[in-house]
């Protein structure tokens, strides 16, 4: 469907304006980017190396074929490392991590802990009104879904690697990229699921 549409536009462009410039290939775009960036602070050039997830999502405009998406999601899922001593941390710490938007940028001290920046995109606690809307609202998440082991595993896994659940999700892979520590992800899990957390009040 998508391909046919693109093909149609390309053909129409050829007929109407034969001198139209060709789109650069994904590979060419990557080469141009590598030439046009420099490392700064903690942000090294390896951050421009696209992995399979980024490559496929770029190539398909975030709409990968279902079978391929399933395979790659499976690969991401296999790489999730779960803590051995339970998945629920301290929701009070989780509240701070969810609120903090710092971390992993070239101007920031990598020795200081990162935040999850969760409120940038999600409404979470009903008391916090300064919340973004790129992701779904997570208000009353634990109240609605309960806090059983499977739900804990889902929440922890989703924070660790959102691409294991939805390949071209806009949510960063916080565990996979080492942006958050195991303890921080446990604290966030508790923030969403603990019955005492303001999220579930």
């Amino acid at each position: 469907m998508m391909t046919q549409w693109k093909l149609g536009v390309a053909l129409a462009a050829l007929v109407v304006a034969p001198q139209v410039a060709a789109e650069p290939s994904d590979r060419e775009v990557q080469q141009i980017m590598k030439h046009d960036f420099h490392p700064k602070g903690q942000a090294k050039m390896d951050r421009l190396e696209q992995d399979a997830v980024q490559r496929i999502c770029t190539a398909t405009n975030d709409r990968p074929p279902a079978a391929l998406a399933k395979t790659l999601e499976g690969d991401q899922m296999k790489a999730i490392v779960y803590p051995s001593d339970g998945l629920m941390g301290d929701w009070k710490e989780g509240a701070k991590i969810a609120w903090s938007g710092r971390g992993m940028q070239w101007n920031e001290d990598p020795k200081k802990p990162s935040g999850g920046g969760c409120y940038n995109c999600h409404q979470i606690s009903p008391q916090r009104t300064s919340a973004g809307t790129i992701g779904p609202s997570l208000t009353r998440f634990g109240k609605i879904r309960g806090n059983g082991v499977e739900t804990q595993k889902y929440v922890y896994g989703k924070i660790y690697n959102a691409k294991a659940y939805s390949l071209c999700s806009h949510m960063p892979r916080f565990g996979h990229t080492g942006s958050l520590t195991e303890q921080q992800m446990k604290d966030l899990t508790a923030y969403l699921l603990d019955p005492n957390s303001p999220v579930n009040k």
Partner: protein, 267 residues
């Protein structure tokens, strides 16, 4: 000057915060925006920029007055509104700031390193580039945005920019479209314009570069794109690189036809 603006801003924000009438919030917000625009020191930036433009500098001790921004040496009227465009002398597509940098190097004999030592300033000390960009852009008020679109390199720059907009990259897998691809989305309380749509791109590109009231700084488009990449957790893009200029070309072409009315004043 800044203090006065600060007080006016605080007063406006306070008035907004104290307002109990929710229904009136929208129009009050618009009032606030207008008030901040009226108290903006943009003109001051343009004036300092003009001084710097005409001041002999660099090893050759000449001013930038003979700089060719695409309309011929020394012609500033409407130049910014017609950028980015292809320049034969460098065989490259350049935007306003890239071309100013080029003139610093060629006319004034300055090294790239020296001219780019401090491309982005802060509230205490704005950069030379910011002052100059304010002055040059101000000379395009009333002109319609009409970036180059005939030369093959201009078309290639647009195509590259369009593709870059959707590239998933950086530590956190974002593309420009992750935040600027869907109507009606916000980061925290900041509304996110869908920059691939003319409706959103036109009013924005018509007002960059711009003064930012929230941190009392003057910001260029090179900074704006650089700062998006910072938040995308990539390494830093080179100032005036094909990548940054192509993104600018894509955005300006999307906004084509809008009447330039900057430098603007933003929250």
């Amino acid at each position: 000057m800044r203090t006065i603006t600060g007080i006016a801003t605080c007063a406006a924000a306070l008035a907004l915060a104290l307002s109990p009438a929710f229904a009136q919030q929208k129009s009050q917000f618009e009032d606030y925006q207008r008030m901040t625009a009226e108290g903006s020191p943009v003109e001051l930036f343009e004036l300092v920029g003009e001084e710097l433009w005409t001041k002999p500098q660099g090893p050759k001790n000449v001013s930038l007055e003979k700089c060719d921004l695409g309309k011929g040496p020394g012609v500033l009227k409407g130049a910014h509104a017609a950028l980015p465009r292809y320049f034969k002398d460098v065989d490259q597509v350049m935007d306003t700031e890239s071309r100013i940098l080029h003139c610093m190097m060629t006319l004034q004999g300055r090294s790239r390193e020296e001219a780019l030592k401090r491309p982005f300033g802060n509230a205490d000390k704005p950069s030379e580039m910011e002052y100059l960009a304010a002055y040059v852009a101000g000379q395009s008020r009333g002109f319609r945005l009409n970036p180059g679109n005939r030369h093959p390199e201009e078309k290639a720059s647009y195509e590259l920019g369009k593709k870059l907009f959707y590239v998933r990259t950086g530590l956190w897998d974002f593309s420009c479209a992750s935040c600027h691809g869907e109507e009606g989305k916000r980061i925290r309380m900041s509304e996110l314009p869908v920059l691939s749509s003319p409706k959103a791109a036109r009013p924005l590109m018509a007002t960059w570069p711009a003064y930012r009231v929230s941190n009392s700084t003057f910001k260029t488009m090179q900074w704006r794109i650089n700062n998006c990449f910072r938040q995308m957790r990539t390494p830093e893009p080179n100032f005036g690189s094909d990548t940054v200029n192509a993104v600018n070309m894509f955005l300006t072409t999307t906004a084509k036809g809008a009447t330039y009315r900057g430098p603007g004043t933003k929250r």
